[in-house]
Symmetry: C2
Subunit: 117 residues, 2 copies
Amino acid sequence: MPRGMRGMRGMGGRMMGSMMDPRSRFFMALASDQRVRILELLKGGEKTLSDFTKALEIDVSVVSRHLMLLRGVGIVSARREGIFVYFNIADKRVFDLMALSNQIMSDWFKQNQQMFE
Amino acid sequence: MPRGMRGMRGMGGRMMGSMMDPRSRFFMALASDQRVRILELLKGGEKTLSDFTKALEIDVSVVSRHLMLLRGVGIVSARREGIFVYFNIADKRVFDLMALSNQIMSDWFKQNQQMFE
DNA sequence: TGTGTAATTGCATCATTGTGCAATAATGTA
DNA sequence: TACATTATTGCACAATGATGCAATTACACA
């Protein structure tokens, strides 16, 4: 009695990053504490890599990679000006997205608060 | 010349799952092809674990775990009825969320289409 | 051409995720 | 109690993600 799909092992699992469905890929970009922090900093307007680095206290290379990833899904835009690269939100609706998700979670938490009393 | 924050190594990286910021955690739940597929199936109303398993063609245990995760962040609810457990969307606004993210991506793609011509 | 600052890229490392199989729970029924 | 069906959990493994350091690229300017 087969239970689900058997056989076809040999590939630990997962989906191999770049060939992931665009939808999941988009959410993946938001599924990181550091990247969320980056986006919140961007609420205050465009910033350079060094700005983020100072604020977040993590290595420049790490911030750079997070920003690359966010650019890759169209959440962040970049503009070079001499030595500096200014990063900014590409589509402000991302903030609506974050606000809505906060709403959902917050409502759910209120509704289930009793469980922790 | 310090570049970002040096020292404090010894922890491969990351944030250790459960102590991740709730916001990132919520998006993390949506950042998976299989889970997105599960949610789309739920657009058609509540379903049992076996229903998903048949539709997705992945092992029951895998589907079960995805559903657990989705329940953990309040996206999916579950109700047991005899042998069966019926899963459903806990908050339909999740669909708004997905629609909005699709909008954002689609618009961004249109805008940058020229780059691939 | 050389120097200085900003940003990106090449590694190596390690925790976490996704997955399948097997075993165990949870329920209902004969 | 024994059996059948559905769902969850334990375990092991491969691939991916996040990170830090070092090296390299990009620019501007003397």
